[in-house]
Structure formats: structure tokens, C-alpha cells
């Protein structure tokens, strides 16, 4: 692990004064530490690339810096002064701008009107004229010849055009100067040419003394413009490197530095006739599931895995294959909030438990009791309301719902979200056991280490299954390589 975070700020920082500096920054949400004891600094005119896995704490860090989220602890200075109770408004007054991943433009307003929202100076008679001029000139600077109509409601524009407006607005100037800008995945919807123009703008801004924090999964962009690359993992900065001849594989290695887990590989699955096969119609890899096989869907967040998972579930259902679904989004897709453990667990198996259209209470109790004990659900009894259980135990009941059913294929939608480590390992073992008995699993996860449990992995990129990894080839670096492949400029 490279550790240069505690080194003197170095060439760049030594010459230029710091725009902002944080020491021991932390942020907790209840018991969850999203950011723990993190140091971060940004010099005037410096471009810092911020990378890390989903959930590594990047968003929390930039939200704290931007004043969107109040820090739980730590010292934070801006332009050499203690920032005190930092807020989004104070940040703006100090010339710090943000371009967020979730596009923050109001879709029913035009680019002109959205510009007014950022600039309180654009008021009074004729504000619209001035706002139009402001955003138009910013667009012309950053994305010449974009041809975007700044008077059309933003919602009618393409995602890429919206992102261009968002970026241009971030660099637009009225009364106070821009001193620093935080960009969170700014190029995710931009084409190659617009991306090139954007990177040029970042370099230009840096020469003008504007500091930039660039958060992106596209490592090539970071290598092209960043002076320094900060890597985060589990709410901590794990590496802080100057970009003097860094390579992509070095960055991937730093991010993918996962603790090796020793685990017995299961016997190879016999792949003769698949239990189910699903084609997306996009010309990418078909997803084939064989008896007893655990197939994972990997890739960066939001690259079409969830959509494909749902498509497979729906297609399997229509085909008549007994299939069950374990939701990771428990509250909106899993739980029946008014019901007990028993009612929640048996809903998928009502037909099997009934005679002549009436559910047998004894059979339902028996089925529930056996899975209740097998999964060691911590609750007074099977009649306990499900909502009174802890998240992990609720998730166990949802697993039991699927496992107790007649399903031959079980679809897992990032099912370990918010589940503690102990429960996770119990459930991994359970899934492997069930696979031994001939059940097939399709498993989408945002946690790379979970794919260790899979026999085969589809790595998604931009909505398509681009790469298949088998058996021994399933390891974090290979997954990362495949996730990023072709994405960088």
C-alpha cells in the first residue's frame, strides 16, 4: 500500500497556498462510519483525482467539503481560516462550486433559469438576459459548438447535454470568482469529444488558479489531468500519490487491494443443458444458468446489472420456471410491513401449502418453524411482526422466503446490503449448500468480495455483459480490469 499522505505537501503545494485543508474529518450515520479520521487538502490551482470503490466514502468526503453534509468531527480550514460550521451557502460564498453526479438541474426550467438558481446576483429587471449571457458564454468556453438551446426546459435535453450545462454552470461567473470546483462523475454521460473539451477546461482552470477535485471511475481522465491521486476505501484515505508517471494498473492495484480470502472452491459445475438461458437482444453475452451454478453479475454500479437481473427474473417467471427473488431493497421491494414473520415467509409458497384454495395453518407453521430455526432468526417466535426485527434478521426471513419455496432458480438483488458480517457469512454458506443440492443462483452484488462465492461472473459495462470470468479467474483485479476496460480516454 502506498502511503504518502503524511509527506510534506510537495512541489505543487509548497509553492501554492492551500485552498482547503481538513484534519481528522469524520462522518457517522448512526453506527455506520462513512468517513473516519480522514486528512485531505487541496492547494490553489491543484487538480486532485479522488478514486475508490462504491461505498468507499468518496461521496461523503466531497459532501463534507462542499458543506452539504455536516461533519461529525475534525478540523476544517478554508483559505487558512477555520471554517467553523461550514454550509453549502458558505461554500458558495467562498467560491467553491459543485457539480454533482445526480444531476442537480431542475428539469422543468431552462438552462438560463437554472443558472439564476446558482447566482443570487442575477436579479431584478433583465435578469433573464444576463443569465442567458452568463450560461451561453460559459458553454461556449467549455463546450464550443455544443449547439445547446439554453431556453429549452432541461428535461427535454439529452442526459449528455444536461451534464454539459451542469458543468458549464459550475464554471460560470457573475459577481464572485470561482476558486475551487468539485466534480463528481462529470463525464459519465459525455461522449469522447465533449470529454476531451471538459478535460481541457479542467487544465485551463487549474492554470487560472482554480482548484479542482475530480471524482470519477474513469481512471484515464484522472491520469490525464490530475496532479495528485487520492484513493479511498472503507471511509479512509488509503493512498495519496503524486501523478508523476502513474499507470492505470498501479491505480487499479491500489483500489483492488482486497484481503485474500481462503475458501474452498466448490467442485466445478457440470455445464450441459442450462436450467435457464437469457438473451438481452443487445448482442452481448447470454446469461446461462446451469443446475447448481452460482452466477454473479458484476461491474461498476449502474451499468445495467440490476436491470438485467430483473429481466431474467421476469423472463424466468413467464417461462414457468419456479423462480424466487431476494430483494436487497427490503423496505420497498421485500417486506410486507403489516405482517408477521410467518405470513412474510410463506407468501411465496401459498400454493404448496394449500388444499382447495385454503392455506393449511399447520403446514404454514411447520414450514416457517423449520426455516426460522435453520437460519437462526433472532425473534421471540414466528408470529412476531417482521418490522420489529433488526435489518439482518429481516433479511434472513426474506432469504427463507425464497429458500423455503419450490424455486429452482433464486435471484439475489444485492441482498447483503446493510447486513452485518456474521450474518453475511452464515448466508454465504447457506447459498453454497443450496447450490450443492442443485439450485441455481443469479447474484447481483455491489461488494466485489462476494463474487468469490460464484462459479461464473458476468462483468457489465454500459448496460451489456461484456466479459465472462470463470472459476479461478474470478478475482478482484480481474473484475476491476473488466469493469474499467475501454472506459478511460
Amino acid at each position: 500500500m502506498q502511503q504518502v499522505a503524511n509527506m510534506p505537501v510537495g512541489e505543487m503545494g509548497a509553492k501554492a497556498p492551500l485552498f482547503l485543508a481538513g484534519r481528522g474529518l469524520s462522518k457517522s450515520y448512526g453506527a455506520v462510519k462513512a468517513l473516519s479520521d480522514t486528512d485531505f487538502h487541496l492547494a490553489t490551482g491543484e487538480v486532485v483525482g479522488l478514486i475508490g470503490h462504491n461505498g468507499a466514502g468518496k461521496s461523503t468526503l466531497i459532501n463534507v467539503l462542499a458543506g452539504v453534509v455536516a461533519r461529525s468531527g475534525g478540523i476544517f480550514e478554508v483559505l487558512g481560516r477555520d471554517a467553523g460550521d461550514w454550509s453549502a451557502n458558505l461554500a458558495r460564498e467562498n467560491g467553491l462550486r459543485c457539480v454533482f453526479q445526480e444531476l442537480s438541474l431542475c428539469p422543468n426550467l431552462s438552462a438560463t433559469e437554472n443558472t439564476r438558481l446558482l447566482h443570487p446576483a442575477l436579479k431584478g429587471f433583465g435578469w433573464k438576459q444576463r443569465a442567458r449571457k452568463t450560461i451561453q458564454s460559459a458553454l461556449d468556453t467549455v463546450f464550443p459548438d455544443s449547439g445547446i438551446d439554453v431556453d429549452r426546459p432541461v428535461g427535454e435535453l439529452s442526459l449528455g447535454e444536461r451534464q454539459m450545462i451542469e458543468i458549464a454552470r459550475g464554471f460560470s461567473v457573475t459577481d464572485s470568482p470561482v476558486r475551487a470546483i468539485i466534480l463528481d462523475e462529470p463525464t459519465s454521460s459525455l461522449g469522447a469529444e465533449a470529454t476531451r473539451q471538459f478535460l481541457e477546461q479542467v487544465s485551463r482552470a487549474s492554470e487560472d488558479g482554480i482548484s479542482v477535485i475530480l471524482v470519477t471511475h474513469r481512471l484515464g481522465e484522472i491520469l490525464a489531468v490530475a496532479h495528485r491521486v487520492v484513493t479511498m476505501k472503507d471511509g479512509l484515505v488509503i493512498s495519496d500519490q503524486f501523478n508523476d508517471g502513474l499507470s492505470r494498473s498501479e491505480l487499479v492495484a491500489v483500489m483492488g487491494d482486497l484481503e485474500p480470502e481462503t475458501r474452498e472452491r466448490r467442485d466445478a459445475v457440470v455445464r450441459d443443458v442450462p436450467v435457464f438461458s437469457h438473451s438481452s437482444g443487445l448482442g452481448d453475452h447470454d446469461i446461462e444458468l446451469h443446475q447448481g451454478e452460482i452466477v454473479g453479475l458484476a461491474g461498476l454500479d449502474g451499468h445495467g446489472q440490476r436491470e438485467r437481473l430483473r429481466a431474467v427474473f421476469d423472463a424466468a417467471r413467464v417461462s414457468g420456471l419456479p423462480v424466487a427473488f431476494v430483494a436487497g431493497d427490503r423496505v420497498s421491494e421485500g417486506l410486507f410491513p403489516l405482517w408477521s414473520i410467518r405470513d412474510n415467509l410463506t407468501i411465496r409458497s401459498l400454493s404448496a401449502l394449500s388444499r382447495g384454495g385454503l392455506v393449511s395453518n399447520e403446514a404454514a407453521d411447520r414450514l416457517t418453524q423449520s426455516w426460522f430455526e435453520r437460519l437462526k432468526v433472532r425473534a421471540p417466535g414466528i408470529a412476531t411482526p417482521l418490522l420489529s426485527l433488526s435489518g439482518g434478521n429481516q433479511q434472513k426471513v426474506l432469504f427463507a422466503r425464497a429458500l423455503a419455496s419450490d424455486a429452482r432458480l433464486i435471484v439475489l438483488d444485492d441482498p447483503m446490503r446493510g447486513v452485518d458480517v456474521g450474518t453475511k457469512h452464515e448466508v454465504y454458506a447457506l447459498i453454497r449448500n443450496e447450490a450443492e443440492t442443485g439450485r441455481s443462483f443469479l447474484w447481483y452484488s455491489t461488494e466485489t468480495e462476494e463474487f468469490e462465492n460464484c462459479d461464473r461472473l458476468h462483468v457489465f459495462r454500459e448496460g451489456r455483459s461484456e466479459t465472462i470470468l470463470d472459476g479461478e479467474r474470478i478475482e478482484p483485479n480481474a473484475i476491476l480490469e473488466a469493469s474499467f476496460g475501454g472506459l478511460y480516454v
Binding site: F325, F336, P337, L338, W339, I347, L350, L358
Partner: protein, 312 residues
């Protein structure tokens, strides 16, 4: 927590009904009680039929409601009386036609909701105009007489006990069993709690909802048939009181308007309460305007007292 607040929500209708009976007994003596109760049971039973159908629809989730019930009730009664007359006064033909008309209307309702992606409130309201117009074309302003056997059944007594309300109580028992142990009933309540969770639990959400609308239409058809039998024929305005009242009865009976929780037995308490209250206000000779004000105030008061079922 006091004993009062620990009572289940669905018992409040029964308590209110008994309270009104006591008030009337004090005011006009024990002698009139028999006839008051028997009238309330007959009209209450018809309210129960309508409300039970509405309950199934409401239980399948927020926004699901059938506003075409009064029109379906009227249309079914007209169709049934016409068919019965054409078949030489057969009550059975009338029953089949009434149920069939109601169930077709329910299918049309859900078809419009699904195919045109209309909110149920709009789709069923739109159909109700159509149904009402068709009913008008059946008989115009004239009242269509019921077959003799039906009229006899609705007022038939065995050893002084009315048979028709007893039969409806049997239907209530079936509805209650459907909700607690029926496969469809469990699925309907699951859909009502969370459409997405139900989908991922393998439930065919649309099919479940279709059945609820068909049941509601069928119930409205049955109610129209019985009402025509008891009141001496089908009339254009016969369904008018069964819209808001039925919804209020469902809610007061312990069903969550947000869906996912339903109670069939509680509907009886609420239906008796409503009908007894109407009788009481009539007996005390309140003017129509005053009656509605008191009725509204009482509904609000009782719904406010009833402990809310826990939803999310």
C-alpha cells in the same frame, strides 16, 4: 392503556350500533325495537354486500376504489328484472344475470385501469356514466317489478327470523375466511401492502387486482338484485346511497384505506350502525339537512376515536 383503546378497530361499529339501539329503546320504548332492528338487518345486509365488494378492491392497495358501484347495482337490477320477466318470472335467471352483469362491469373497470393506465377513481367514474345510461335504456323512468319468488325470499321469515340477512352473514363468513386463509385473499393483502414486494414474491399483481374488481362488481350486482326484490323493483336512483356510505362502512369496519389490511366481519357492525342511525334520525324527525350534518359529524367522531391500524 385503557380497556377502551385496546379494542380492535372493527368492534367500534358494533359498539356504536348497540349504543343507538339503547338510545332508541329509551326514547321510544322496547316495543318498537323489533321492527327497527328487522328493517336495519335487511337494509344493513344489502349495505354489507356492497361494502364487502368494495373492501376487496380497497384492500388491494392505495388508490384502488370502485366508484361505479351505484351504477353497476342499478344496471344489474334492471338487467336481472328484465331477464327474469322475459323468462317467465324465474328468480334464478335473474340472479345469474345480476351476478354476470356485475362481474362483466368489474372486468370492464379493471380493463380500463390497465389498458388506458387510468387512475381507478377516473376509470370507474367514467364507466359509471356508461352503466347508468345503459340502465336508463333498459327501462327508462319506469320501475321493473321483481319476480314473485325473489320478493318472497327477501322478506321470508322462519320462526320470526329473517332468512336473507342470515344468508348474507354466511357470505361474510366466506369473505372472512378468504382474507385469513384463502390463497387469493392472502395475495390480495400482500399486493395492498406493497405492489413491488408482491411482484418479487411471485404474485401476479394484475390478476389479483382483476379478481378484486370482478368480485366487487359481482357484489354490486347481487346487492341490486336483492334490493330490487325487497323494495318492489328496479329504479334508476336505487344505487345512489351506496357509494360514499359503502366506503365509510369499509373504513369504519376496520379496513385500511391505504390497503393491505381488511376486515369482513367489522363491516356488519358499521353497516348496522349506519342504518340504525338513519332510522333514529328519522324517528326523531330531523330535517334532511340536519340529518346529513349529524351523520357526518358522527362518522368523523367515530373514525377519530378508532385507533389507527399501524401502516408503515
Amino acid at each position: 392503556m385503557s380497556a377502551l383503546t385496546r379494542l380492535a378497530p372493527w368492534t367500534y361499529g358494533f359498539i356504536a350500533a348497540v349504543a343507538i339501539l339503547i338510545i332508541m329503546m329509551v326514547a321510544s320504548g322496547v316495543g318498537s325495537l323489533g321492527s327497527v332492528l328487522s328493517t336495519a338487518l335487511i337494509f344493513g345486509a344489502i349495505s354489507v354486500v356492497v361494502a364487502t365488494g368494495q373492501m376487496f378492491v380497497i384492500a388491494t392497495g392505495p388508490g384502488n376504489i370502485d366508484l361505479s358501484v351505484p351504477a353497476v347495482l342499478t344496471l344489474s337490477a334492471y338487467a336481472a328484472m328484465t331477464a327474469a320477466a322475459a323468462s317467465g318470472g324465474s328468480a334464478l335467471v335473474g340472479l345469474v344475470v345480476a351476478l354476470g352483469t356485475g362481474m362483466i362491469a368489474g372486468t370492464l373497470n379493471y380493463g380500463a385501469i390497465l389498458a388506458l393506465r387510468l387512475p381507478p377513481i377516473i376509470a370507474t367514474l367514467a364507466w359509471s356514466f356508461v352503466f347508468q345510461s345503459v340502465a336508463f335504456n333498459f327501462g327508462g323512468e319506469a320501475t321493473l317489478k321483481p319476480p314473485a319468488a325473489l320478493a318472497a325470499f327477501t322478506s321470508f321469515r322462519l320462526a320470526g327470523v329473517q332468512i336473507m340477512p342470515i344468508c348474507i352473514m354466511g357470505l361474510t363468513a366466506v369473505a372472512a375466511l378468504t382474507l385469513t386463509r384463502g390463497v387469493w385473499g392472502r395475495r390480495a393483502l400482500a399486493v395492498g401492502q406493497s405492489e413491488a414486494a408482491a411482484h418479487f414474491a411471485g404474485i401476479r399483481v394484475k390478476r389479483v387486482r382483476l379478481v378484486s374488481y370482478v368480485l366487487c362488481g359481482g357484489a354490486a350486482g347481487l346487492a341490486g338484485y336483492l334490493l330490487a326484490g325487497f323494495t318492489g323493483g328496479a329504479a334508476l336512483n336505487m344505487g345512489d346511497t351506496y357509494l360514499m356510505e359503502a366506503i365509510a362502512i369499509v373504513a369504519l369496519g376496520g379496513t385500511s384505506i391505504a390497503g393491505g389490511q381488511a376486515n369482513a366481519v367489522g363491516i356488519w357492525g358499521a353497516a348496522l350502525f349506519f342504518n340504525l342511525m338513519g332510522t333514529m334520525l328519522n324517528t326523531f324527525q330531523f330535517q334532511a339537512g340536519m340529518r346529513f350534518i349529524i351523520m357526518g359529524a358522527l362518522i368523523i367522531a367515530i373514525v377519530a376515536i378508532v385507533p389507527k391500524p399501524k401502516v408503515r
